[in-house]
Amino acid sequence: MTPTQPLPPEVTRIRPSGGWRAVDLREVWRYRELLAFLTLRDIKLRYKQTALGVAWAVIQPLLNVVVATVFFGNLGGMAGRTGTDVPYALLTLAALVPWQLFSYALTQSSNSLVAEQRLITKVYFPRLIVPVASVLSGLVDVAVTLALLVVVMVAGPLLFGWPVVVPSAAVVAVPALVLFAVLAALAVGLWLAALNVQYRDIRYTIPFLTQFWLLATPVMYPAGIVQDARLRLVYGLNPMVGVVEGFRWALLGTAAPDWGMMGVSAAVVVALLTGGVFYFRRMEKTFADVV
């Protein structure tokens, strides 16, 4: 067929591709329903065959807060170093909103391609959908933990005499921050997913990675611990620092985050995500042969 002839509406051209390719966003969009179904499936399957079911989505953050409050807040003395009158438990719960999404997404997306190897070796679809679906399915936790946070914010003053915490106008930034958290999780998840196809060593590093990352993120302690301005910029290289500080600011009306640090976090997410997408696309064509 000569190039001048118009092509019928649906033409599939199969050619060996070069090394680096951009994402075919139009194609991903065409497969949006598959993305939705895979996300829904992951959500539905999460608490199947568990006695407590969805209650786990509440129990997990609650227990995390209790443990953090006892060990870090009280025994570790962090509760006294928050620099705000917002109770330590609330600060931790607000941080858990994005952190749970991040750690869940890290674990799920890194293993996602290997877990879907039957699909990958039998059917074509943009492979990007697989890790994206596993990250998106973590949004359930965000919703549940947010609801839990609201309950605790109301119940705290009534039951424990905590000071009343009211979010400032910054609360409108929550959707943007959720997106920030999703992108941060995806940025790391894409790298791990693609690497795990080739090197199954990745899956063994995930528990350590998650643990170290948690300690490097101000979830159980305030970001204010890092005082030095230059050190704060380095600290911001961990994108979750920006995300967590942003959530506290938007949900609890604490002081605005260090914007320099936020900027560094955002830049890191953009860089990691762009690199991750390109790396993923480069490795994508060999997934079916290697997985």
Binding site: I14, F37, R118, F125, K285, V290
Partner: protein, 434 residues
Amino acid sequence: MGDVAIRVDGLGKRYTLGGPRERYGTLRDQIGRAGASLRGLLRRRQRADARPPFWALKDVSFEVKRGEAVGIIGRNGAGKSTLLKILSRITEPTEGGADLYGRVGSLLEVGTGFHPELTGRENIYLNGAILGMRRAEIVRQFDAIVAFAEVEKFVDTPVKHYSSGMYTRLAFAVAAHLEPDILIVDEVLAVGDAEFQKKCLGKMEEVAGRGRTVLFVSHNMTAVLKLCARAVILKDGRKVFDGTPAEAIPVHLSHADRILPEWRDDESRPTNPDGLVRLTGARVRQPNGLIGGLMPADKPFDIEIEYIVLNQTSCQIAFRLNRADGETVLTTGDGDVRSVTYRPRLPGRFTSRVRFPGHFLRPGRYYLLIAVNRPAAPPHDLLEAVVHFEIDGVGSLRELDGRLGVVLPQFHWSEDCVGDCPEPLTLNPQRGGL
């Protein structure tokens, strides 16, 4: 030129032998190679290039017209699956290209993405989306799919509670309601019970009859004859024939000519990644205990299948005995006598044996298709066309070759005389036999 549906041009796919399968490994493998591993990691590319490349497909070109049904045939390892995977976009070609004009539906397996915990309804939507159906399309076809699968009452039951028959029916029903312009089908999906195979083939005939373009990949000549007006034969990754199926038969048979009475596993052989049983060997053993591919028709022989059970599971060791032209003579499973299909197994190495009586198979060439089946999931392991042997027409039944029938058994006849019986005749021993 507008009537071309598929154009394949100089398609080639190179694998680095042993490469892709070795490249990833568990941590244990890595520790085993601890010293070399880091350096190896860095040098992977050079090492990979040093291995001899293997072309699973090379310089394959052909065109398929709109509405044409073309069969791609070839023995195991001829490149059929690679071609199928490239055209389905699962893997990329190394060189050359292909254009497909129209909506493509490819079925390498039915029930891909089915999840046991999800209900029939949920699986229909998920599987439909995986196969490329739009939600609106699935909604429109939903009742038809459920009716075709005959699972109306169980549509909101998790499929893990389905019988294996229901499961397969539902999986196939979704695939059958895919309405692509070009359908690419692997015959492997027709592995299953006879009823299911018939349904698959019937549906494909229907699709081909409606003017859709069908590319049917098979090693079964009979099915290709039935469905396709044209056949392309692949051998060692190259196209060696393109013409009518009738003309293709002798070419295909000449490839199957080699008698291979024994098959041994090759460690690099890719198998079902979640298979718990691996076939490791299969052979035909002559009455004297020797392995040989030429069997006298009047003597019994054994078919031996060796396998390793890696993990406790439930399965059926089964094989299909096919004539060289692809027609199935019989299928047998190791639970048949006990009237069970799947039997629980413990890990270990096993050899299963079946004795074939003499005076049973018709002289001619045969091959086996061996499977380790399990309920409601693809087989643990599957070998498409291994162990080729020939039944030689020597012996007492040679003179009977003219009679019709797939098998040529020698039965014992008896007679009863009713009423007034004559004296028995004395047979002249010279004129004995039948």
